[in-house]
């Protein structure tokens, strides 16, 4: 029982919507969702990770988000994590993600 991912692409922004459980099983889907928008000359693109429908995340999801950040250009990356429910918000805070991502 894992989640599903849908992607909306606009001119300079990629929105990745994650529903259900965001765990290890999602790694191929998640990578596929951003891979074509990262690397090479694609830097400077904005990513929005919409956790509105996300029920659960574990450490592998945190690892995936860190990898996305790296592949999107680490410090030049512009990644926003939105609509996380309170439990997930707490996990993000405990992991100190507010220093690396914009959390709203």
């Amino acid at each position: 029982m894992s989640g599903t991912i849908s992607v909306t692409r606009e001119e300079s922004e990629t929105v990745i919507n994650i529903k259900g459980r965001f765990n290890f099983e999602m790694h191929s889907q998640f990578r596929a969702a951003y891979q074509e928008d990262t690397g090479g000359d694609k830097k400077g693109r904005r990513f929005v990770i919409n956790l509105a429908g996300t029920e659960y995340i574990d450490s592998s999801a945190l690892g995936m988000l860190l990898l996305l950040r790296e592949e999107a250009g680490t410090n030049e990356s512009d990644i926003e994590i939105t609509n996380a429910r309170p439990e997930i918000q707490k996990i993000l805070e405990t992991a100190n993600f507010q220093r690396l991502f914009k959390i709203s």
């Binding site: 790694h27 990578r31 574990d58 450490s59 945190l62 690892g63 860190l66 990898l67 439990e87 992991a95």
Partner: protein, 339 residues
Amino acid sequence: MSDELARKLSNDLKAELNREVASVRMEMEQIRDLVQDAIVRLTDSFGGMRDQSNRQLALVTTLTSSMEGNSDQEEAQEGEDAVKRINIRSFVSETDQILRTFVDHIILVSRQSMEMVHRVDELATQMNEVSSLLKDINAIAELTNVLSLNARIVAARAGSSGAAFSVVAGEVRKLSKNSHEFSDKIGAVVGSAKTNIHAAKNIIEVMASKDMSFAIESKGRVDEMMEEVSDIDRYTSETIAQVSGIADELNQSVGNAVMSLQFEDMVSQLSASMERKFAVIEQFAEVIGIDQLTDESQPMAERVEKLQESLNMQIQSFDEVDRQAVQQSSMDEGDIELF
């Protein structure tokens, strides 16, 4: 005869007066000594109380400063055993730091694992490519086999002149068969590589996937502890403030008590004044002799006048002593020295 009796009575009266005055004077001296003795002891004892209260306050202050933050620790570092004091606040923040490091570590492991999984996925894709390449090789082998079959048929039609060619066709067929076997073996290796890749992915999954609720709970507990430590600190400093307030009040009270004990001076002065008055009273016995009144060799009016004169002098000298005493005590009242 009556003169002699009168003189004796007069002497007896003087003697009795002196005896009584001496008795009162002795008791007065006892009182003075008792009071002075008590004052010395009370002063000592109040001084001791003040010292003890100051020591108590100092002890409580050191005890609490050892429980507080870093600024106090820096001061404490001058004493050797002061450094090793228990510091709850730094213990809790140390725990918080360890927890943070632990969480960071878990996330780092997950990040590395996810990167590894991407590599392993790429490896799996490459293995699939190998499989499809093997299919191409098999197709070539199949084609070669067909080719060799055709060659044999052509060779058979050619008869004896084609015999040598038939041998070559047989070798080509063997080659095709070998290459088929070879690619099957590679296929088997690729298959087991895929199995290994799958197993590796399972291991990585376990490594990468940690439930984060433990971190949240631990963090919550550490935060609670921090809160409690702050409460304790607050309570402690309030208590210290109270203790030091009480110590101040105690000092004040002791100061007042010690100040009040300076009535010792007044006691000395009063007893000195009483001493002088006793002297005057003793003089009274000398001045007013009963024999003067009964001395019939003088006219009555003269005796009374002389006695009246003596009484006036007595009153005058007593009043003078009394005035000195009043002056001194009123001056000292506003002039109590503070310790």
